[in-house]
Amino acid sequence: MSQHFSDADLEAYLDESLSSDRMADVEAALRDESGLADQLATIAGRRDAGVHSLGAIWRRQRLSCPTREQLGSFLLGVLDPDHSAYLQFHIDEIGCRYCNASLEDLREQSAQAAATDTQTRRRKYFQSSAGYLSADD
């Protein structure tokens, strides 16, 4: 089925900054729809001629992206509710590729830290108790 892609979507496609799923949608549509290739070529030509798009500037310079610390606070659930709701929107609805990657990394780090903590705790239990191990007579 033919999908609609806005010029802003295609600008982001050219910059490899559209969400991954949407990037794949554009690639699939480009194989089937010659009109989409024309739309993309027009945008590329306009860019080469020096015409700016507000969305492209916004995305490239990440003007509304949260800081890494704010993303961390978001994950911990310690941001105020309105700010947190906005970040959820930025991540899901806008599909910010950079913030999604950063969030994924933070989750991974958090999981690794938890795994390390578990290992450390088990080692401590083992080391403090191993001396009481004795083989049955």
Partner: protein
Amino acid sequence: MADSSNSDPRANPDQLLVQEIRQGKPDAWTNLIAQYEGRLLAFVESRLRRRAASEDVVQETFIGFLTSLPNYDTRRPLESWLFSIAAHKLTDYLRREGRRPAIPLSTGDGSDGNWELVGKGRGASSIARSGERKGLEAEAIADGIQQQIERWQKAGDWKKIQCMELLFVVGVGNKQVAEKIDLSEQQVANFKFDFLERLRKIVRSQRLSEDVFPELHEA
């Protein structure tokens, strides 16, 4: 996102890190890799879905960072710079794989394409400008947008940021924006008008060409 415009490296750990990398300190380089490889890998892997290929692209990104280091302006956030290199390397990889087509510059109708600005009647040659000029124009508008966003953030006016992101970053129409974030169409139109008017003022005050920002004159 906060920029790194503070010129004192002590106040900006990324600037200090880059300064040490420029001095050839291996520990600093190890530190940068440790800090950024996770998010770069997540960025690339979300597209490629293959770990080994993604790691190759991230490796090329780090090499690309070192080779482009003389051009890196430390006022620019390091993370954004690394992501932009990763995006280029990823694009190159996808082109080599044949997944991403090369885009022709014209529509193939033998003309210059239909990129000309509506109602202005100007051709490519008259607005073709140096990369430096283009950079200045983009910076001026980015500063203007950033100031508005910061103002809205301070006031907790998140709806306005959502509204402008949907309109300009996603390219959704007024009606859809209104439905998505529970505003009236008139409110969306008013927010959009105020936002664009502020940007038009910036363009005029800095004596930039309004022709290169066609969206500033959209209804």
